[in-house]
């Protein structure tokens, strides 16, 4: 059984004014086949956590470690992490003008699988995956995320999740910007991925509504750059009714 383990992770964001510490000691182990939800208020550092795991150059890890199946991740380049089996569905996916979705997906699948998929089976695979997420086939010819609505961008992220089939997936606010129908479709995509693979999932959100569709095994409350409480699915309901105030750090 594999695991993605964060130990005492501290990281800062590099800005023009200098460095600002955001993650203040995060420890978390996700076993394969389990889903963890991380919930926290705006600005608590959830996306920072996701970016640091993926290796975004804007952030610097000051101490602690990340390992994937026991192997150090922090020494790997961004693309090597993806090839090792990490995937980040971004809160704000980036537009890449001039690069078509089909070219992008094929290049990325080729890189992650280590060989180019056979053209004929690939076209069908891509069409089926798009169909499952109720994406129109015409998206294949459009430029990556260019002019996509918020909901279309999120579907496109989950499309990549299903094609790249990672060992561990971090979903950063995949629920935000989705209406009820889209939320159900996207959740079904995530659940299909969880069922077919033995992957671990880190689900970042600040609302509980996605948790009605994607059931977490564990819920972590994330405040001011650290996990302040962990519990079962019922912890999410408590958060829903009582809010984050109860966890506000007495003296930060």
């Amino acid at each position: 059984m594999g695991s993605l383990a964060l130990t005492d992770l501290c990281a800062s964001v590099i800005t023009d004014e200098g460095e600002l510490e955001i993650l203040k000691g995060v420890s978390l182990t996700i076993e394969s086949g389990t889903t963890h939800a991380v919930m926290g208020p705006n600005g608590s550092g959830k996306s920072t956590l996701a970016y640091v795991i993926a290796g975004h150059p804007k952030y610097r890890v000051t101490s602690g470690s990340i390992t994937l199946d026991g192997v150090d991740v922090l020494g790997m380049s961004v693309d090597a992490r993806a090839r090792a089996g990490l995937f980040l569905a971004m809160q704000y996916p980036v537009e890449v003008p001039g690069v078509s979705v089909s070219n992008f997906l094929r290049t990325s699948v080729t890189a992650v699988r280590g060989e180019a998929p056979k053209l004929r089976t690939w076209v069908k695979e891509m069409k089926d995956a798009m169909g499952a997420l109720q994406m129109d086939p015409s998206f294949a010819e459009r430029n990556v995320n260019e002019g996509f609505s918020g909901g279309e961008k999120k579907r496109h992220e989950i499309l990549q999740l299903s094609l790249l089939n990672p060992k561990f997936a971090i979903l950063d606010e995949t629920d935000s910007g989705l209406d009820v129908d889209a939320l159900r479709t996207v959740s079904e995509g995530v659940n299909a991925f969880r069922e077919q693979s033995d992957a671990g999932v880190l689900l970042i959100t600040h609302y509980t509504r996605i948790l009605q569709y994607i059931k977490p095994d564990l819920v972590h409350v994330f405040i001011d750059g650290r996990i302040v409480k962990s519990g079962g699915a019922d912890l999410a309901s408590a958060l829903e009714s009582e809010g984050y105030e109860q966890f506000a750090p007495a003296s930060a």
Partner: protein
Amino acid sequence: MTIAPPVDLSPRLTSLDPDVFDIPTGREVEWRFAPLDSFGVFFQPINDAGFVTAIESSQYVRNIAMADLRSSWLPSDRPLAVARSLAQNAVVVEVPKDCTVAAPIVVQLKGSAARSYQHIEVNIGAFSNAVIVLEHDLELDICGAMVVNVADGAKLTMLSVLQGDKKSTHIAGWHTTTGRDSTFIGCAVTIGGGAVRISPSVTYSAPGGNAELLGLFLADGDQYFEHRIFVEHEQPNCTSRVTYKGALSGSGSHTVWVGDVLVRRGAVGTDTYEMNRNLLLNDGPRADSVPNLELETGDIVGAGHASATGRFDDEQLFYLQSRGISEMQARQLVVRGFFAEVLGRLNQVDLRDSMMAIISRRLGLPAAEATDV
């Protein structure tokens, strides 16, 4: 972006006599960006200058003595007038009327001395259709004109390619006249050379002409590339599309794009749009972009311009890399995507692919396997 000076509405000064034009000092609007220490060598007659010839002649391509050339073109600046008066050879590319030439006519050009004058004259007969690729000599400093006549109902797709690692000086006037209902697609591919100045211009001799001026340039190191476009709409119901894209890297590279479009009073029904985009691959290079559009009539179909210069986006790079794509391949995807729009407009799949391969090579990237750009 640089603030545009107004387009000079008076007719452009043209003459065969070099002395009609003052020697540029660098203070003139047309010469204010240019490194005159490079271009200046062509401001005065060069006695021991050579001349440019086509390496191979063919059914369509001939070298002839300049004295035997019939051309109505008049130079519009001093170096072009000097070159016109001293060039000894003209390369003539001629396609007779009612003739569709299936394969591209590739013309490899070569200069005979360290500094050479060129004159290239292209005549496409009525209702003919051809593709011409000019491969310029970058071993030497070259100055001269490419003069193109596209007769009624004809269609010409023409590429002018400057490629190679030589740091030579290159000045080219590229003047096209389109006939009734004819189409000219001209693409300047500027990748090599130290100091390059290309002036593509278009005039319409009859209604219904279409001109698509395309360009892509990749400047690195301390290369200087200037593209100075002039489209003059005088006839009714003509169109022009200008699409130039440049990518810049290195510490001291500098590109200049000037797009002057003039719609004269009689040019009713004109449809024109010009666009320049530049991509800075790192800090250091400078891109000047100066679109100018002057309308003497409002009775037109459309007129517009756009210009933007942006940095290579690190977030795009991160996004692609986070999907397992290596940094090198990610950069390739982004830059190829940037140029794909220009090359797509050629409507020539083979040419698009070979130009893309040249670009990839120049970027130090492996020639990509055929992908659906």
